[in-house]
Symmetry: C2
């Protein structure tokens, strides 16, 4: 009897696994959404059908993350790399931008912000090869910075902030900008500490091509004159994310994911599951006799993206090939880090992580 599950477990860092229930609904509704005679991809974004889909997605997201009324939720395009330019075009006013470098993504944000502002790394874990988290008390925050940028979960390096920094307590009056692409909806967000948060949907939500932006209303309306209209948060907000044609199908899929999250118990339940999955995987990585290891400092470890290494790199290909045969997909690490990476987002069940650990144990036994 094969040990391969009916549907393999997919550990991709993004685009990533979606809940099977969501895919089944999407397939069933492909030619006809709710008796409208149209598939969702075929609907005018201004018609009552899609307007209802969009409004429900936004409200469900607001409910799930308890987003306060003074934050606008925008559905945009361009992903995290797009936002790396769009944020400073909207918020920097050409002034100072403080960036906390904790991995590959925040480094990219720092570099791109430099096109529009005086961007400075006010802290960095580069000397640790992005395996630690610089303590907020050590950040060299500048007076008068337009904003402070953090990436609260580094997808490539597997580093996650357990909580968002309290800039006010650090003596800063700058708004905090949070790139939470790869762990959004896996834990609560303390909005009292946030000015703007953004997330590409293709990691913990699913469809690529949708970017979620949560922006405090007082930060709208300060875009640089060179900011494209389609990426000016105020223009997007004033038009209810319909200034340009939104990525309608991706918003629909995201909305189905939000419904699924609610049905499963919401963000609190996702956090409980994330802790259980991470405990299982890190527990094995720390106690396997040295065959595998994760290099990130314990307090900085991501619950979502778990890079790990075989002690013997020469076994990498055999590991990946055997994993695929066992129904465990997309485990190859990012090229900049090497080794393996298991992304264990909301849509990954505990059983998938258990299957991975079982396979890892078996592989170590055969090759150890």
């Amino acid at each position: 009897m094969s040990t391969t599950p009916l549907r393999p477990y997919n550990f991709s860092a993004g685009p990533a696994v979606l809940p099977e229930a969501v895919l089944r609904t999407a397939a069933a509704e492909m030619l006809d959404w709710h008796g409208s005679g149209m598939g969702v991809m075929e609907m005018s974004h201004r018609g009552k059908e899609f307007t209802a889909i969009h409004a429900a997605a936004e409200q469900d997201l607001r409910d799930l993350l308890a987003v306060p009324a003074n934050f606008r939720i925008l559905f945009m395009q361009g992903g995290g790399l797009g936002e790396n330019a769009i944020v400073p075009m909207n918020l920097s006013r050409g002034g100072m931008v403080d960036v906390v470098v904790t991995g590959s993504w925040s480094k990219k944000s720092l570099k791109e912000a430099g096109r529009y502002a005086d961007a400075l790394a006010v802290a960095s874990n580069e000397a640790d090869h992005h395996t630690s988290l610089p303590a907020p008390a050590t950040w060299a925050l500048r007076d008068g910075a337009a904003y402070v940028h953090v990436c609260s979960n580094e997808t490539i390096d597997g580093v996650e902030m357990g909580e968002l920094p309290d800039l006010a307590a650090l003596g800063s009056r700058a708004p905090l900008v949070v790139d939470c692409s790869s762990h959004i909806l896996s834990r609560t967000i303390d909005w009292s500490r946030v000015g703007l948060a953004f997330a590409g949907a293709q990691k913990n939500i699913g469809p690529a091509g949708v970017t979620l932006v949560f922006v405090r209303e007082d930060l709208l309306g300060h875009a640089l004159s060179i900011c494209p209209s389609a990426f000016d948060y105020k223009t997007v907000a004033d038009n209810g994310s319909m200034f340009n044609t939104p990525p309608t199908y991706g918003i629909y899929i995201a909305g189905l994911v939000f419904q699924w999250l609610k049905s499963q118990g919401g963000v609190a339940e996702m956090e409980r599951r994330a802790i259980a999955k991470a405990d299982l995987l890190y527990g094995y990585l720390d106690n396997n006799g040295g065959f595998y290891r994760n290099r990130v400092a314990t307090q900085a470890r991501s619950r979502m993206n778990v890079p790990f290494f075989l002690a013997d790199d020469a076994l990498n290909d055999a590991f990946l090939s055997g994993a695929k045969d066992a129904g465990l997909l997309q485990l190859k690490g990012h090229k900049s880090v090497g080794g393996m990476r298991a992304s264990i987002y909301n849509a990954m069940p505990l059983e998938g992580v258990q299957a991975l650990v079982n396979y890892m144990q078996d592989f170590a036994r055969r090759h150890g």
Copy 2:
């Protein structure tokens, strides 16, 4: 016996009707693409499965439109309104941009280009309420313009250029930029006259959130310093449209549409069908005793987007409601023009246009 077809005919201007065969394939492959164990939305954009989908879509598109080897094809995000900024950020060099105003879309392009360059309307049909086409010989082209922008099919106004202007013959050395969003793949493109062409996919291809850009290689590499990396054509081209995560599912759907187009006989067959559909609809609009009319000059009429008006505006609601009952959807005109609009893209069969004409005849008989 009901006259409603099993699947209604959808005349939306975009997002718009998709071929039923494409939707059926997408639904069937939703949970497992070609035995990979993953749906397309769940695949890493860098994995071999999606890389193959992307490469096939690009090659099919190149084949369908006979795109020369010195043009790069980019899959981007942001739609036509995004390109209105992205084009001048990449091509204007801060100099002069000549825009031919033929309707709502080229007016938007003119306004947005003004953020980055000395943008000027070198011709306009505004005095005609966008119902005509200014003859190229009358365009006040400027020496040294960085490029000349035209919208070869105005979705809102229903105005289409029968052929692209030959700028060289007009004494200009500027590259021609063509917004062909709403009639791409319905006719051939004379690439010898083009420097850059772009199209939002949500009109004549289907999925919103994908923008196609065709750019001559010599135009790459001149972006303004404030151009976001994710929208710098050279960066996008150098990374094979994978600098940031592309809208993977939309590219997959577009690829299925390209396969469908090939199976139907390609662009030549689409043009033949477009002529037949347009002849049928305009033929009736011009010969119905004055109950309905189209206001666009005969030589300027779009084969794709057909705005029309009832002589008695008070009947509009009854017309739309009866149309819906007859399985004819999304016929309401754009709010800036009023009346009705039938968009009859590649995926609309002749039978759909015939059903519309039949309904219009019946409605006129009952209300005339």
